[in-house]
Each structure stands twice: as C-alpha cells, then as structure tokens.
Symmetry: C2
Subunit: 219 residues, 2 copies
C-alpha cells in the first residue's frame, strides 16, 4: 500500500485533501502543526477528522518566535470582509507552508511515502504566495534534489488537488468524497462558535450559500 | 546595513560561514537548532561563537520525532573511519537542511534580510543530498516564488561559500577570516573532549595536519 503524508490543519481545504488521498488508496499519515496560532480549535478539528477517517496523526509543536502575522500575534488585526484582496492579508505567516512542507518531506522520507498532500489553493486565498502552484512545483523540484530517497531514484510528489478550485467547488468535492464537514473549523477566532464575521467565516458562508445547503459545522 | 541570517551549528563550517557573512558587511542574525541531536556541545559552541562575534543569536527548538538517524538516535551506530564514503552516512537526518533553510527563510522574511548563509559543503560530506549545490539552487528558486518579499520583487539569496571547498581549504579560510576556532565543536559525541575517533573528528584532524598547525579546540 502506497503511503502519503497529508498536511492537515483542520479546515475544509485540508480535510477535503485528506479524503482525496484516502480516495486514491493511500495509507495516510496526517501531520498537524501547533505553531502558536491564535487558538487550538483547529487542532481539535484535525484530531477529530483523523479519528473519523481512521488514519494516523502526528501533532508537531513548532516554534515560530518572530511573529509578524495576525495568526500568531493577537495584537495584529484580523482581516475583515469577504472582498477579494489584491494584497497579501495580515494572516500571512512568512514561510509557513515552506516550513510545513519541509517537515512533511522529512516525515515522508522517514516512512517511505511517495506523496505529500497539501490543501493549498490559489483561488480564494490567492494572496498567500506559498499557496501558488508555481511555488509548489519549484519546491517539488528542489526536494527531489535534496533527499536520500531522490538520490536513489524515488521521486516524491506534492499533490495539491484543490489548487485551482473555488471554495464552492471544494465544498462540492468534499460532499462527493463524504468528508465529515461537521468536524472542520475555519474561523480565525477561537470562540465556542464561529464568529461569522472574519474572512474565513465569510468565504465559507458564501460558498455554502451558493451551493444551497446548510454548513454542518455552523449550525 | 544589509541583513543576513546565518545557520550556525557550532562546527567549523558554519563558524567560518558566519565570518564570511560578517566580512561581507552584513548585520548578522544567527539561527541555531536544538533538534534533539545526541548532545548539546555544539549548541554551547554556537552560543560562544555568536558572543565572540557580537551578533544576534536565536536558538530554536524543533521537533524531529521520527528518528531514523544516528544523530538523533543513540541506538544507531555512528560511522567510523575517515574513508570517503560512496553511500549516505547513518548521520543523515531526512530533510534536515530543508527544514533549517525553511526556518531561515521565515526568519529572513520577517527581519527583512537579503541573504541566508549556510555552511553546506559537497566535498567532504558529499554523502548528504541536502548539502549539494543543485539542491540549494533549486531551493532558492522555490522560495523566491513562495514569499511575500519575492512577490514584491525582493529576491532572497542563499549563500553557501564553502560548497566546493575541502576541509583543508575551509580551515585556511577560517584562519584568514580570524574565526575563533577554539570555540567550534565537530565531534559527534558529547564527551568532555572530542573522541578523536568519529568521522567528524578524523576529517578535522587530517585537515589540520595537512595545514601543519595544531587544532586550537582539540588540545
């Protein structure tokens, strides 16, 4: 059975990506990061998702002590409003996906995995430079020069099945793949219920509205 | 004053790399990792080196829980003998430099640095795939597609000034740059004195012998 490492944050995108990997027949090893984000809600979501999917899960604590992002520093304001941004939002964490993917490479090499799955998306969050396809392709090229596995002729793939999907299409795919969306968490705030006001909540709400169904996590 | 992040392990190579950066006029921010290596000796060396060079220093604790390397797992034997290897040594840590460079990218972006310096070398340790120039060049290309700084037209360089140098040439460069070699640590074991038997000790010893001077750290 082929193995894959799935980067799982606990949101809709990574949950759907997990089910893409399962659907392709991979034995899945999920990796979630506790990197000092504003709240732990999404970590609990990630745990619930892996339990539901019966796959392995590793939670890694990583230090990103240099702050500078609204996701790491509560003094920085979260972006509001669902308008498509031309600028990079304040929630951008410098090099975050680069670091996460690097850990996934290390993990993949250790367990002999063939692929890494990441829920990166260049449509709804096009502001994040490390979510773009050109970055992922170049990174794949780099790691396939820098690992022992690659030296022995084993190429590691990075799969980003959602890269060009809108949020609406992602949710449609999630419904088709039977992703337990009730366990996912998107809100930037860590309150008991989603705030329904932040960027992440609004994009999610709009997508569900367009499909015409109720969001099972936002009842 | 231009800024640079220097990956500093505490060995001769990274210490010399630090002085290359200082010599080029950079304001230097050193980054050292506590990644569960067999001993803390090299961390103390890194600290002493930054104190001596009067530059900033950050020690980051990173988890690499999947073992599989002699550097992380005391049950795996260290390589012995100074013969040039054709295979990758047991001290190889999957994806280590990829992870370290990723943190450096994140740090560099946060502090607005122009360059990252790494003491990678493809001559004496040619067994490590993530120390090769082709990897570093491809990685540089990747990160310059995946950062906010790059999107704004600011390219980040990765400098590996020792990449094609023999250990003898590195030590000669260190002497020229007045690197306080007495603070460096190379031995894989964490005893009070270097073991003088492991790979790292033997390569170092031979290089000093060839130059014809005494190693100030190994008295």
């Amino acid at each position: 059975m082929k193995r894959a490492v799935v980067l799982l944050s606990g949101g809709i995108d990574s949950a759907t990506t997990l089910y893409y990997a399962l659907n392709k027949g991979y034995q899945v090893f999920c990796l979630t990061f506790d990197y000092g984000q504003r709240h732990k809600k999404e970590i609990y979501s990630a745990k619930a998702l892996t339990r539901s999917a019966k796959c392995r899960w590793r939670l890694l604590k990583v230090e990103l002590p240099w702050k500078g992002s609204a996701l790491l520093d509560k003094r920085i304001k979260l972006p509001k409003g669902k308008k498509r941004r031309s600028n990079i939002p304040s929630t951008y964490v410098p090099g975050r996906n680069i670091i996460f993917l690097s850990y996934a490479v290390s993990y993949a090499e250790t367990i002999g995995a063939d692929a890494i799955f990441i829920g990166a998306n260049q449509v709804d969050y096009s502001g994040y430079p490390d979510c773009r396809l050109s970055f992922i392709e170049a990174f794949t090229d780099a790691i396939n020069r820098g690992t022992k596995a690659a030296q022995k002729g084993k190429r590691l793939k990075i799969e980003a099945p959602l890269i060009n999907k809108t949020k609406k299409d992602i949710i449609k795919a999630a419904l088709r793949l039977k992703v337990p969306l009730k366990y996912t968490w998107s809100c930037y705030k860590g309150l008991r219920k989603p705030c329904a006001r932040c960027d992440a909540c609004l994009i999610r709400e709009e997508a569900f509205k367009r499909i015409g169904i109720q969001d099972p996590a936002y009842k």
